[in-house]
């Protein structure tokens, strides 16, 4: 666990760069992490997914899986891969300030 300054705010992140406390998250932080993840600009479509993930995690306490995102938003897996290339569930969880989606055991 380390402290990291993102978009002018100091937050705690784990060794993989996922934020520890979702309450420290801001939209500005999302924009910065998205850049680190190779997404130069967050569009309305990106925000739709990010907002869904934050709501879902708020209710369940954990970041949603890829299938939960597609079922919950109606956005297809193909589109998700276009929006958040390679591992969309993991990428969007990081941008949304949530923990890493649980690896399935």
């Amino acid at each position: 666990m380390v402290a990291k300054t993102i978009a002018g705010k100091t937050v705690e992140v784990n060794e993989e760069g996922f934020m520890i406390n979702p309450n420290e998250w801001t939209e500005e932080i999302a924009v910065e992490i998205a850049k680190e993840e190779g997404i130069p600009e967050l569009t309305a479509e990106h925000w739709k997914i990010i907002n869904f993930c934050r709501q879902s995690a708020g209710a369940s306490g954990k970041a949603p899986t890829l299938r939960q995102i597609t079922v919950g938003t109606g956005v297809s897996t193909k589109e998700l891969f276009a929006l958040f290339p390679k591992g969309p569930a993991k990428k969007v969880a990081r941008i949304a300030g949530l923990g890493k989606p649980e690896g399935c055991v």
Partner: protein
């Protein structure tokens, strides 16, 4: 007379019914099991069938051998559960009322969910080993196969027995060596996970093992479709892998009636409290084995450990006591690694698999995350234990809660 209905008479349903039979007052309780299939399958044995190590007769027995009076077994599929009326409607038009319901209908493969998979090449160049039928077909295929590129693919997690694809690959490697055609076979493992396995230490150690065996891992591979004529699989991020033989672990889903009854999540698993295995929606419904959404391994060992502690808790609960958060997600698995060896992992919700000794700290005789011949024999002996002890609800001399003794932090 109180009524307990158990849906599913597989590993979890049969074990819990026989446990209850031993400890419950059956003048006060009526226990009914429902299952459409008269055969009980020893599912861990499916893995060995493609390689001719087991045959059909090694993995099947009549369910009637394990479920006897005063337990009742009804052979029928389930149409729907009405949790408000506390009623189960069966496909045979019968209705069963219940005071308590246990859902133990497990998880199944759905190759039709991946475009191109379950079409004209299914059973020809595209195979699986997750059912008796598919493993028998794959046995025939491997018998005649001249070699080429074998691609093993997991469609999506969670799957039943998360280590099975790795075991299949390592047994295949051994099989081709034995038959003198390993130099004519290329083996690729395409997985949606970022590495060989889910948990970091195990993933690293298993990844190294695969590398030594000259097996290539294609990580983060989320399959979108199979192109059965071009013989290739394509991922959502447009990576393509050609194959001569595709062995797939198709999408796993819970039973359809769970969805029809409004009891399931997006994969038809019933949401439960992960420490008590009670349904989040109804306080008289419990879910044992693979049918729940608990983030534990979908495996017989997990079901067995959970049931060890469930029975006593359930009896206290029906007398009006609070449920204890008893289940720690404990799982352990033998992993066949080929050449007569195996390794073992032991873990729970909190603790990832680590190297060490099991079940006796420092002694074993089983070795954790380390290959040994004893582990392989342990796995083969386990079949006897399954049929003769486990299914009958007898105690197996292994602790139900995971212990850190004997494990090495690395």
């Amino acid at each position: 007379m109180k009524k307990l209905v158990i849906l599913g008479a597989g590993t979890a349903g049969t074990i819990v019914a026989n446990r209850f039979k031993r400890v419950m007052d059956l003048d006060e309780w009526q226990i009914t099991l429902v299952d459409p299939d008269p055969i009980h399958y020893y599912q861990p044995g499916f893995l060995f069938i493609p390689f001719g190590m087991y045959t059909r007769k090694d993995v099947i027995k009549p369910k009637r051998d394990y479920i006897s009076a005063p337990l009742t077994l009804i052979q029928s599929a389930v149409e729907e559960v009405d949790p408000v009326q506390r009623l189960v409607r069966l496909a045979n038009k019968q209705s069963l009322s219940y005071d308590y319901l246990i859902i133990a209908t497990g998880t199944d493969i759905h190759p039709e969910e991946t475009p191109g998979m379950a079409e004209h090449e299914w059973g020809k160049s595209i195979h699986s080993f997750y059912t008796l039928d598919t493993s028998l077909k794959l046995n025939q295929m491997l018998h005649n196969w001249e070699g080429g590129r074998l691609v093993v693919n997991v469609v999506e997690n969670p799957i039943k027995c998360p280590v099975a694809p790795l075991e299949f690959i390592m047994l295949a490697d051994w099989h081709f060596h034995k038959h003198g055609k390993r130099d004519r076979v290329e083996i690729i493992y395409a997985t949606p996970l970022p590495g060989a396995f889910t948990k970091p230490v195990a993933s690293r150690l298993l990844g190294e093992l695969l590398e030594r065996k000259n097996i290539q891992v294609e990580a983060d591979f989320m399959i979108e479709r199979v192109e059965p004529d071009a013989k290739k699989i394509v991922s959502y991020d447009e990576r393509e892998i050609e194959y001569d033989l595709l062995v797939t672990v198709p999408l796993n889903k819970g039973a359809e009636f769970v969805a029809r009854s409004g009891l399931g999540n997006e994969l038809n698993y019933v949401p439960v409290d992960q420490y008590t295995l009670r349904s989040k929606a109804y306080d008289n419904i419990f879910v044992l084995g693979d049918a729940s959404d608990a983030p534990a391994s979908k495996a017989g060992a997990t079901a067995h450990f959970a049931i060890d502690l469930f029975t006593e808790n359930f009896l206290r609960y029906v007398e009006g006591h609070e449920l204890k958060p008893y289940f720690d997600g404990h799982a352990n698995c033998f992993i066949e690694t080929g050449f007569g060896k195996g390794l073992m992992i032991d873990f729970n919700y909190e603790q990832e698999p680590l190297p060490g000794r099991y079940p006796l700290p420092g002694i074993g005789p089983l070795t954790l995350l380390e290959e040994s011949e004893f582990n392989h024999w342990g796995k083969l002996m386990f079949r006897w234990m399954y049929w003769h002890l486990l299914l009958k609800g007898m105690e197996v001399p292994l602790p139900s809660e995971m212990s850190m003794s004997g494990k090495r932090l690395v």
